[in-house]
Every structure is written in structure tokens, then in C-alpha cells.
């Protein structure tokens, strides 16, 4: 018998004897091993124990070729093994060799595993057969294989779980973690997995694994929906729980990371807000121009709050309109559509009207935002508009747009900036008002023709306006460099050369006396010349303490010259009036003297010629005398007229009733003439003579013109306003046509032939002149046929100026 190809070793036993062979045979037949003997190159069974035979369904094997029965063994390499043993004569050991055969011959291939030895059987040197000893190891092999496969699967699953854990952990924020946990669970478990919010989700037959925070709070749960008709396995449960635990950890990490990032971002924002406050503070304090200041603030908002653009408006209260002052970022122009926003219109105007900020992190859907299309196009996300409020009044609006949401602290910072800017604008406006007021004062003081000075409590000059410098002939620098009381520079000497001590100066007295001093004085120029000034020195009291003096003064040289000229003219006029008076006197005397002579001579001719004269001669001499009288009356009238306005008498207490009575007596009205004097004529402080003349002239006029038969003349009176009295003298004469109402007041104007009514035409003009020179008025009321009333007004008291 040939030995097996592998591990062949020579047999130690010599060929048994026949008895032994029989015993061996019996053992072989009953051994729990598979035993058979194959003979020849065709591997024909010569022996197969029952166990072996049983393997092949109890079929008869002896005498049949193995290869004929199972040609497929050739392909499996069995034949090669068997042929090798025959050829080499060495045994071959196979271990757990896989054999796929239709063992039982029922058309069903089975896979079995065997450990076996092919032992060569020799006849002499030649190997003629093979003893096959085999045990089936199929169970052991299969058992081992299952265990290995299980191990591999478990390892893979653990790998997947680890990968899932990594995926969940690196998902990102909490939302992504949950999302990833669901995805991974779904991938691992193959079912429908969802995340449920809340602490105790309803399982509804599925699996639930809670998500918990580090401190044990429920964060929801992963839920695996129940599959129909299939209970979830313990393994699935385990996976779900593990995933849930991983997700819990990842959530915790994500939260910690988020918080850390937020803290970091907040820190960064705080830094930016601090920088913003610093920028705004710098803008408010360093810039002088309001617009420039606000532009800096807008730029700081853009830079420090990551805004797209920022704008600042100020309120023009007079026109109720917001005026754009600054614009930084995306837009930098300050003209155009937003340059003037009416208070109350658009979101900016509404902020100004309400005084309340408007904030949104959803610009694109905010109904307050006018142009949402623009916001979408530009990707604007947030808007913040703050009123600039000062002392409860909105003085402007500050607003910005950003492409990111504005966090609360940014809005707070913005609010603080708005307050600071409001204060800054207010201060700028105050500064502006102050500067304007200073400018106004300077304009006033620079352009005043009045000299203005300020003196301190030591009477040193602290301010001079240009007019003062001009008048004094000194500049303020001159005066300041002298460090002396101003008095010693401009008022030290009197025109007579004697010193003018400060103690006697009314200007320097104003402050200690706490009393305004006014007057005129003479100042000294640096060249020693004097000039007259009028001054007013007013003490400045600060809470009752004298601190200085304001001096207003004016060079009155020209005025003084004008006054002197006026005095000269008045004196000249007085002289002229005196000359006129003299002329009137001389005229009256010199004109009347020959007149009287003519009158006397005419009479003497008449007396001396006597009867020789004849009637005609006597009549002519009579006419001559009449003309002499008229001439004399004219001369007296001219005298009266020339004196009427010019000559002033002492005013005295005049009882007008008595005065009128005397005048009537003097005029001796004829019998049948009635003169009615109103009761209650006043008592005046007046010049008696001119008033008497007025009444005399008017009464004689009235008596002259009153009706021939039943003449009635009346004198009336009533007080009128303005310290005046109104008097009237009326007659029942023929009256005066309106066209003569003005003319009758002219000198020498008469309305009737002098031969019929003797008159000079001077009386009324004298009345008018006297009355008007006393501040009164004279006029006539009359209609033809209804008499005439002459009116005049006369002051109750003679004023200083008129007297």
C-alpha cells in the first residue's frame, strides 16, 4: 500500500498474520471512523466500512470506482490527491477539506468537511491501493465559521457605530447634531427614525432613546418607528441607545462650543462697542463743525457695528422736517431723496414724531421699511433707528442698516451712542447759538458809532469797540499796555490846565455809587486837545457786588457846534424880531403922525372956511377924514398882526367869562342887540391880552355882521381832549358861502366894500395867528343865510415850550 503524499512514514509493523487481519477487519468494520480502501488507478472501492457506506446513503460501494461515481471529485482536486499517493507511495493527510457532493445520490449537493489520511497500500514496492481513514469535521468547521462571521459582523457594527459617533460629534451646532443623529440611526437601523422634542415621547410600539444634557435634563428623544409585525431587537435598542448617548454628548459639546463662541463674539462686540463709544466721543469733542461731527459718528457706526450704512438727520423744528446731515458706508451723499424727511413721514419721520426707536432684524418683511425690494436686493437684514432726544425734545434721528442681525448688546450700544450724539448735537447747537450771539455782539460793537467801553473794578479799561478807539484816538493795546485807570489817560486835565482828579469824575463815580451817571464832559486826546462828549456810565453789579462799569459815549463836537449855531440863529432871529418890532413902532408912529395932521387940517379947513365951503366941499372933507380913519385902522391892524404871534405875555389866571363880558362892554353893542354868553366859561392859565384880542376881534366881527334888526351874538364853550378848550362865537348875520371859509382868514381879505361895512380885513388873520401860535386851531362854520359860527381852541394851560 502506498503511503500518503504528506507526512508519510514507513510502517513499523511487519505484515500481520491472518488472525490479526481478521481482528483488524472486525475493528475496521465497527470503528466510528470512515474507512475504505481504494484499489488501482481507477480508485475502485475494495472495502468500505458501514459508516463510510452510510455516508453515501448506504449504497453498495465495493467494486465501484470512486471517480465513476463522483466525477466532480476530479475537479475538486481529490483525484489529484489520490493519484499523488499512488504515484509517490507516501501517505497524504488532509485537514478540513471541503467536499461538495451529492452524497446520498438524491440529486442534492451537500458541503461537508473532512479530516483524512490517504495511506498507501503496497504489494512489494508497488503501491496498489489506498487506505482512506477519515472523520467528518463538518460540524466543527461550520461552528467555527459561524463564530468567526459573528465576530466580524460585530466588529463592523462597532466600526459603524464609531463612525456614526464621529459624524454626530462633528455635525456642528445642536440642530445639526440632532439631524445627524437621526440620519445615522436611520442608516444603522434601517427603519424610520425621528427626533422627538420633549421629555416623555410616546413610543407607540417603537423604540425610544432619550437625549439628555449633562445635568440630566431631557432634550427630547430619538424614536425608531415600529416595523410592522416585527419587534425591535435588543441589538437595535442597544444601537439606538448608544446613538442617543453619543448625540447627548455631542449636543452638550455643541452647546459648550456655541456658548464659548458666543462669549468670544460678545467679547469682540464689547471691544467694538467700546471703540465705537471712543470714536463717537472723539468726534463729539474734537470736531467743531456739526456736520463733520455727525459724519464721524456715522462712520464709527459703520465701522464698529459692521453696518452697511448709517445716517444722521437733525430736526428743523421751524419747518417740521428732518435734514440729513451725515451718511457713511454704502451711501455717502447727503442730498437726494432722504435729504429732507417730513417729521411723521416714513420710518425716520415716524421715529422723530414718536420719539421711540424702531428696531428690526427682519428688514425684508418689516412693513415699516419703505423699500423692501431694495432691502432684499441689497441683502439687508437689520435696521435700527434711534431718536436723538435732548431734554425731552427730539432733535434728530440716527439710523443704520446691516446685513447681519443686530444683537441686543449692539442695540444697547446704539442707544447709548444716540444719547451721546444727542448731547453732542445739543452742545454744538448751544455753541453755535453762543457763537452767533458773540458774533452779533461783535457786529454791534464793531459797527456802533457809539463808543463803548468796559472798565473793571479798578477803573482799568478791559474793552473798547472800534468807535471808542476812533473817538479816543487810542487803541485798546495802547490802553492795556499802560496799566492805569482809564481816567488818567483820557480825562486827566481840565481845559484850564488844572488836573481833573478821578475822585471828582462822574464816570468813575458810577461804580462805587452804584448809580448810573449821565452827562457831558470834556475828554483829552493824546495830543492834549479837548473834545466834548456826552456819556452814560452804568455800574455792573454781579449779585450786588460792583464789578465794573459800562460806558457809552459820543463825541459831540459837531453837535455842540450845531447847538452854538442854533443859539446864534436864535439870537439873530431875536434881533430881527426886535428890529421888526422897532420898525412896526416907527411905522405906526411915523405913518400915523402925518395922518393925524391931515385929519386936523381937514377939520380946520372946514372950520375956517365955514359957510364958504359949500355942501360938496364939506362932504369931500368928510370922506377925507373917513379915509384917514381907515388908514389909521390899517396901521393898527398891521401892528396887531405883526405882534400877534411874536409878542408873548406872562400867563395868568384868566376868568374867560369876565374877559368876554369886558370885551362886550368895550365894544358897546347897539340897542336891540342881544349877546348871549354861555354859563360856565372856564378859568384858564393864559395870556390875557392875546386871548382878549381874539374875543374882541371875533365879537366885533360878529356884531358888525349880525342882523340889523334883532342882532343876536352868542359865545359858547366846551372842554375838549388834550388839555384844550373849544370856544365859539356865532352871529345871525347873512352867513358866509363855503368858498370863502378859508379865504376869510387871509390878511386884508374882506367880503364887503369897506364903505358899507368898515373893516380892514386884518381881524380874523390876527385871530388865526394868535390861536395857532398858542397851539390852537381856528375855523368857521357857516352857510349863506344862516349866520356864521367862528370856532377856536385854546390850551387850558400854557406849556413850557410855548410860553
Amino acid at each position: 500500500m502506498p503511503s500518503a503524499a504528506q507526512s508519510a512514514h514507513p510502517s513499523p509493523v511487519p505484515p500481520p498474520v491472518e488472525a490479526n487481519l481478521t481482528a483488524l477487519y472486525g475493528a475496521m468494520m465497527q470503528a466510528p471512523l470512515l474507512l475504505c480502501v481504494l484499489h488501482g488507478p481507477q480508485h475502485v472501492f475494495t472495502f468500505a466500512n458501514p459508516r463510510y457506506q452510510e455516508l453515501f446513503g448506504g449504497r453498495e460501494l465495493v467494486g465501484r470506482s470512486l471517480l465513476e461515481m463522483f466525477p466532480e471529485l476530479e475537479a475538486a482536486g481529490i483525484r489529484a490527491m489520490l493519484d499523488g499517493v499512488l504515484r509517490s507511495g507516501e501517505s497524504f493527510v488532509g485537514t478540513e477539506v471541503q467536499v461538495d457532493l451529492d452524497f446520498a445520490g438524491r440529486g442534492q449537493v451537500e458541503r461537508r468537511y473532512y479530516d483524512f489520511v490517504y495511506h498507501p497500500m503496497k504489494q512489494g514496492e508497488e503501491t496498489t491501493g489506498i487506505l482512506v481513514i477519515a472523520t467528518e469535521t463538518t460540524e466543527a468547521v461550520l461552528a467555527r465559521r459561524t463564530a468567526a462571521e459573528q465576530q466580524a459582523r460585530r466588529t463592523a457594527q462597532l466600526q459603524r457605530l464609531a463612525e456614526a459617533a464621529v459624524a454626530i460629534n462633528s455635525a456642528g451646532d445642536e440642530e445639526a447634531v440632532v439631524r445627524e443623529a437621526v440620519v445615522q440611526a436611520q442608516a444603522l437601523l434601517g427603519g424610520t427614525v425621528s427626533h422627538r422634542e420633549g421629555a416623555a415621547p410616546d413610543t407607540q410600539g417603537g423604540l425610544v432613546a432619550p437625549l439628555r444634557s449633562a445635568d440630566g435634563r431631557a432634550l427630547g428623544a430619538l424614536h425608531l418607528q415600529a416595523r410592522s409585525g416585527e419587534a425591535p431587537s435588543a441589538e437595535e435598542q442597544s444601537i439606538l441607545v448608544q446613538l442617543a448617548q453619543q448625540a447627548s454628548v455631542a449636543l452638550q459639546n455643541a452647546r459648550l462650543l456655541r456658548e464659548a463662541q458666543e462669549r468670544e463674539a460678545q467679547q469682540a462686540r464689547r471691544t467694538h462697542h467700546a471703540l465705537l463709544a471712543a470714536d463717537v466721543g472723539a468726534a463729539l469733542t474734537r470736531t467743531t463743525d456739526l456736520r463733520e461731527m455727525l459724519q464721524h459718528c456715522a462712520q464709527a457706526l459703520v465701522a464698529r457695528l459692521d453696518a452697511s450704512f448709517a445716517r444722521v438727520w437733525t430736526v428743523n423744528h421751524a419747518e417740521a422736517v428732518l435734514e440729513l446731515q451725515a451718511s457713511a458706508g454704502l451711501y455717502t451723499h447727503i442730498d437726494g431723496g432722504h435729504a429732507r424727511v417730513p417729521v411723521g413721514s416714513f420710518k425716520i419721520g415716524r421715529i422723530a414724531a414718536s420719539g421711540k426707536p424702531h428696531l428690526t432684524n427682519d428688514v425684508q418683511h418689516d412693513p415699516q421699511v419703505g423699500d423692501r425690494e431694495w432691502a432684499k436686493r441689497e441683502g439687508m437684514v437689520s435696521f435700527a433707528g434711534y431718536p436723538l432726544t435732548l431734554d425731552g425734545q427730539v432733535i434728530g434721528v440716527m439710523a443704520l442698516f446691516a446685513k447681519k442681525p443686530l444683537p441686543d448688546d449692539a442695540l444697547q450700544a446704539l442707544g447709548a451712542v444716540a444719547d451721546a450724539v444727542a448731547l453732542g448735537v445739543g452742545r454744538k447747537r448751544n455753541d453755535e447759538a453762543l457763537r452767533r450771539s458773540e458774533q452779533t455782539l461783535k457786529t454791534l460793537s464793531d459797527n456802533a458809532t457809539l463808543g463803548l467801553l468796559l472798565m473793571d473794578a479798578r477803573q482799568h479799561c478791559t474793552f473798547m469797540n472800534p468807535a471808542a478807539e476812533e473817538i479816543l484816538g487810542l487803541t485798546f493795546e495802547d490802553v492795556a499796555s499802560r496799566d492805569q485807570p482809564l481816567h488818567d489817560l483820557i480825562h486827566h486835565t481840565r481845559p484850564d490846565g488844572t488836573p481833573y482828579p478821578m475822585a471828582e469824575c462822574p464816570i468813575d463815580r458810577a461804580l462805587p455809587a452804584r448809580n448810573q451817571e449821565q452827562g457831558e464832559d470834556l475828554f483829552v486826546r493824546p495830543d492834549g486837545s479837548f473834545y466834548p462828549v456826552s456819556f452814560s456810565a452804568s455800574p455792573i453789579l454781579n449779585a450786588g457786588v460792583p464789578v465794573g462799569t459800562v460806558i457809552e459815549f459820543r463825541d459831540i463836537t459837531v453837535q455842540k457846534r450845531a447847538e452854538a449855531e442854533r443859539e446864534r440863529l436864535i439870537r439873530a432871529l431875536e434881533r430881527t424880531n426886535a428890529e421888526l418890532d422897532q420898525f412896526a413902532y416907527v411905522a405906526s408912529h411915523d405913518l400915523k403922525a402925518p395922518l393925524r395932521g391931515i385929519a386936523s387940517l381937514a377939520q380946520w379947513v372946514e372950520e375956517d372956511a365955514g359957510p364958504r365951503l359949500g355942501d360938496q366941499g364939506r362932504e369931500q372933507l368928510g370922506l377925507l377924514r373917513g379915509r384917514v380913519h381907515r388908514m389909521e385902522a390899517l396901521i393898527d391892524g398891521i401892528l396887531d398882526y405883526s405882534r400877534a404871534g411874536r409878542v408873548r405875555h406872562k400867563s395868568e389866571t384868566v376868568d374867560v367869562g369876565a374877559l368876554v363880558g369886558e370885551a362886550v362892554d368895550l365894544l358897546a353893542p347897539g340897542p336891540g342887540t342881544r349877546v348871549n354868553i354861555a354859563a360856565g366859561l372856564p378859568v384858564l392859565e393864559a395870556e390875557r391880552v392875546p386871548l382878549q384880542q381874539v374875543f374882541m376881534n371875533l365879537l366885533s366881527n360878529a356884531l358888525k355882521h349880525a342882523a340889523r334888526e334883532g342882532a343876536v351874538v352868542g359865545v359858547g364853550h366846551r372842554p375838549v381832549g388834550g388839555g384844550m378848550h373849544h370856544f365859539s362865537v356865532r352871529d345871525n348875520g347873512p352867513g358866509i358861502a363855503p368858498e370863502y371859509h378859508e379865504k376869510i382868514w387871509n390878511i386884508f381879505q374882506t367880503l364887503k366894500p369897506r364903505d358899507r361895512v368898515e373893516g380892514t380885513g386884518i381881524g380874523l388873520s390876527v385871530v388865526k395867528k394868535i390861536v395857532e401860535s398858542r397851539g390852537g386851531r381856528a375855523w368857521v362854520e357857516s352857510r349863506p343865510g344862516e349866520g356864521a359860527t367862528f370856532h377856536f381852541t385854546w390850551p387850558h394851560r400854557v406849556t413850557e415850550e410855548l410860553s
Partner: protein, 138 residues
């Protein structure tokens, strides 16, 4: 008669006025001696020379005169110790306050305005005559 007769000096440059006085005297049967001077200078000469009777003198004085006017004459008269007590009545056309005051300041016995009509002149002279016959004179 001479005891009561008055020595009248009329100072008047207007001849018609001199005639007025003379005719008025005649009308009133006044027989007083009447001397006439044409101005103050002549009047002073007549008074000082004694051509006018030294007793009971009365000067009728016009104011507006050539050379020395009435006021100047009065000043000279009052300044002369011999003549200072002489009675003077002003007979003038001047109605001026200034003249009146100046005249009375120089102690005139009266200030008469010359009437315009001769009739009035006659009446005035009659009154004057009656008056001065009653007046005690130096």
C-alpha cells in the same frame, strides 16, 4: 391970574401938532403962555436959559424927536439938579409898552396918546387944563 398961570413948554417937531395944541388952547380959552421947542436939545436950552418961567413949569413932551428924543430929554432932565423936579406930561403917538415904562421910570406926570381927531384933541386939552389947575406944582 399969574399966580395960577402955568408955564408950558411944548416939545414937538410936527407943526400940525403944534397947531393942534394951539387951536385946542384957543378952543378951550386957555390963555397960558406956550413956548415951543422942536427937540430935546432946544427944550433943555429954553428951560435952562429961563425963557420959560421958572415957576409952575409943565413940559408937554413928544417922544419921537430929532437930535434928542423924548426919553433922552427926560434922562437929561432928571439928571439935572436944577430941572429934575420939572413936571412932564408925555403927549405922543407911541402906544409902545417900552416907551410907557421908560417914561414912567423917569417920573412923568402922565402919558397921553395924541387923539386922531381934532375934537378929541380939544377935549383932551380941556381935561389936561382942568387937571393941572388942580395940581400943586413946585
Amino acid at each position: 391970574l399969574s399966580e395960577r398961570s402955568i408955564n408950558i413948554l411944548l416939545v414937538e417937531d410936527d407943526q400940525v401938532d403944534v397947531m393942534n395944541v394951539r387951536r385946542a388952547f384957543e378952543k378951550n380959552k386957555i390963555a397960558n403962555p406956550l413956548l415951543v421947542a422942536e427937540d430935546g436939545v432946544e427944550a433943555l436950552e429954553l428951560l435952562r436959559s429961563g425963557k420959560v418961567g421958572r415957576e409952575r413949569r409943565l413940559v408937554l413932551l413928544d417922544l419921537n424927536l430929532p437930535r434928542m428924543n423924548g426919553i433922552e430929554f427926560l434922562q437929561a432932565l432928571r439928571a439935572d439938579p436944577e430941572l429934575r423936579s420939572t413936571s412932564v406930561v408925555v403927549l405922543t403917538t407911541s402906544n409902545s409898552e417900552r416907551d410907557k415904562v421908560a417914561a414912567y421910570d423917569l417920573n412923568v406926570a402922565g402919558y397921553l396918546l395924541k387923539p386922531v381927531t381934532f375934537g378929541n384933541f380939544v377935549d383932551l386939552m380941556a381935561s389936561l387944563n382942568k387937571y393941572w389947575t388942580l395940581v400943586e406944582m413946585p
